[in-house]
């Protein structure tokens, strides 16, 4: 394993961790709203969140490149805020990853929130728990498997991101050259041994993550001494 490969691995972990954190911060209120709202806009909002599932990454990458470029509205905004331009930067990849992995975080959370029985929240309300209190002490613990799934899928999906990063990253070691791009480069250059080391590692990682997820989120068996 070369130093460049280790740098790519560390960068990928940083990108996935940062994106997952932001996704949980943004995704939790969004999923809560989607689970509870009765507005007629709900199908539209849910569709927007799910878009990255059906859009080819090249479409997302292409539009992000244009939107975040010097002639795009987002690019003009970030420049006028003194943030510079997002393409070819770590920050740009974070923004892209948050958009790209959004459904993988919001959907499990939304399903978990929807599964919480209304009477659990009503019971808490009759005990004079405020909305915040109800959310933190009733909804969040009950939705714990949803949070685990959301975090794991958000992280893993960001690690597996390729097309969008390829289109807006610029392959800069240490700031945008993530694992999937490094593997692509090795394959393109005919360095199959190096490609195997990284690609094999990713396969093992993905399998380990998913097995862990399914083990952790397994429906609890009847506890000892419980129902017979």
């Amino acid at each position: 394993m070369t130093t460049a490969d280790w740098i790519a691995i560390r960068l990928t972990a940083q990108l996935a961790a940062t994106s997952t954190l932001l996704l949980l911060l943004i995704g939790t209120p969004l999923a809560w709203w989607l689970a509870r709202t009765r507005t007629r806009l709900k199908p539209l909002a849910a569709s927007l969140v799910a878009m990255p599932l059906v859009l080819p990454p090249s479409v997302l990458g292409f539009y992000l490149l244009l939107l975040m470029g010097p002639n795009g509205p987002v690019g003009r905004l970030t420049e006028s805020l003194g943030l510079g331009r997002l393409p070819f930067t770590f920050g740009g990849l974070v923004v892209a990853s948050v958009l790209y992995s959004m459904p993988f975080v919001v959907q499990p959370l939304q399903q978990a929130f929807e599964a919480i029985p209304e009477r659990a929240l009503e019971a808490a309300a009759t005990l004079r728990a405020g909305p915040w209190d109800r959310f933190l002490t009733v909804a969040v613990p009950l939705a714990r498997p949803g949070f685990v799934t959301a975090a794991v899928l958000g992280f893993a999906h960001t690690v597996g991101e390729f097309g969008v990063v390829l289109m807006i990253g610029g392959n800069i070691p240490g700031s945008t050259r993530v694992l999937s791009v490094a593997i692509y480069d090795h394959v393109e250059s005919g360095e199959f041994a190096d490609a195997h080391r990284l690609a094999g590692g990713i396969v093992v990682f993905a399998l380990a993550v998913l097995v862990t997820l399914y083990v952790v989120n397994r429906p609890p068996r009847a506890p000892a001494g419980g129902t017979r």
Binding site: L65, M68, G69, G170, I172, V187, E188, S189, G190
Partner: protein, 251 residues
């Protein structure tokens, strides 16, 4: 008589669907930078021989991996001379069939008018934050761009500003969208026949970088196909060379 174009279109489609005797459909893998010219050459080729082309465009390195894995391409029109040589050596291409069909010309290009001067002085004196280049490990044009930067003694100054694209097609896209102020691309991308030149460019003198030889080769899958061999012959013909030159290559 608005229907007449429709009828002639249908007629044309029918003609195309009923191939002439012994007309082949040749599966060609072509380097992205030569896809445009090849499509133009293909028109003349079909008119002259009756054979048609099924063109897949992409990165030469990717095609190499696909061909070694058994992809059904019959001709490879590559962006370098190494890949065809390697395929011949590995027995995936027909011995002695590789030849240089075009020599690429490198330009330093910006989408902004007057940004790049005719001597390329912008490299040393210009204010820019990103310069796009195709991945030098993979793309000969990227390698050539690095050589130019080195020849100008600017490696230390410019390395932090380099953004690497997977191909010159993507390098072009980085510059065209304005995300990189300038970049090294092929003349064939900037000076397209029949289209006005966008922005400004410096045609890099050929002595600043190693020759970019683009070779074509007959692959094993096309060995017994008359149309595939005919295409390689046609690439050396006067009408094909005229198109190649018009698109900014020498030969």
């Amino acid at each position: 008589m608005k229907l007449r174009p429709l009828f002639s279109l249908i007629g044309g489609l029918l003609l195309a669907a009923v191939p002439a005797a012994h007309a082949d459909e040749v599966a060609v893998a072509v380097a992205a930078n030569f896809a445009g010219p090849l499509a133009r050459i293909g028109e003349g080729f079909t008119a002259a021989t009756g054979h048609t082309l099924k063109i897949s465009s992409g990165a030469t390195g990717m095609f190499y991996s696909q061909i070694t894995a058994g992809a059904p391409f019959e001709v490879l029109v590559a962006a370098d001379d190494e890949t065809p040589k390697k395929l011949v050596a590995e027995g995936k291409a027909v011995n002695g069939s590789n030849f240089t069909y075009a020599i690429g010309k490198l330009v330093l290009w910006s989408a902004k008018p007057d940004f790049v001067d005719a001597q390329g002085g912008v490299l040393a004196h210009g204010t820019f934050s990103h310069i796009a280049i195709a991945n030098p490990k993979i793309a000969p044009y990227g390698q050539a761009g690095l050589e130019v930067i080195k020849a100008r003694g600017l490696s230390d100054a410019l390395t932090p500003k380099l953004v690497t694209a997977e191909s010159i097609a993507q390098a072009y896209q980085f510059v065209a969208s304005g995300n990189a102020e300038l970049g090294f691309v092929a003349l064939s991308q900037v000076a397209v026949p029949g289209k006005p030149v966008v922005g400004s460019y410096w045609l890099v003198p050929a002595n600043l970088y190693g020759q970019i030889r683009q070779d074509a080769v007959l692959l094993k899958a096309g060995e017994k196909k008359a149309g595939a061999a005919a295409l390689l012959t046609y690439l050396k013909s006067a009408p094909a060379l005229a198109v190649i030159e018009a698109y900014g290559y020498s030969h």
